[in-house]
Symmetry: C2
Subunit: 90 residues, 2 copies
Amino acid sequence: MKFIAEINIMPLKEILDPQGKAVLLGLKHLQLSEIKDVRVGKHITLSLEASSQQEAKEKVEKACSELLANPIMESYSYTLQEINEKIIRR
Amino acid sequence: MKFIAEINIMPLKEILDPQGKAVLLGLKHLQLSEIKDVRVGKHITLSLEASSQQEAKEKVEKACSELLANPIMESYSYTLQEINEKIIRR
């Protein structure tokens, strides 16, 4: 079975987000001052082979918790989609 | 009316993705070699005030096309959610 994972990794709410502040400044220069609370993180897509949905989930969890997300500063969420269209949300 | 936008900015498919390659290498060290086609982009969330859905969409389009995404190397997609739960996808 083949799966596609779409992963979002965001800075924890309480952590300062300098990238978000920089984007906010840029948006002001574009006269888009109605935009607030900008937060910038990573969006990662990947495909993987697994014998079951559960196994695919365990692999994505391992990838996120051991490599992709820094648990001290970031949180992660993902969707896992079997190629023949069954969407699984975490 | 208040809206929340979730924006994904990804490198164009034909563009080399060194970050994706680096992540792939890291995953191999975690014995996750079943994972392929890793692509790394940005996930940006923001809130904005607008008098209508259409106006909110125009502001997010302007933010994406003029600041957040580099049209030569990146593509963007977003969802726009009115705070009282109407989800609009692009």
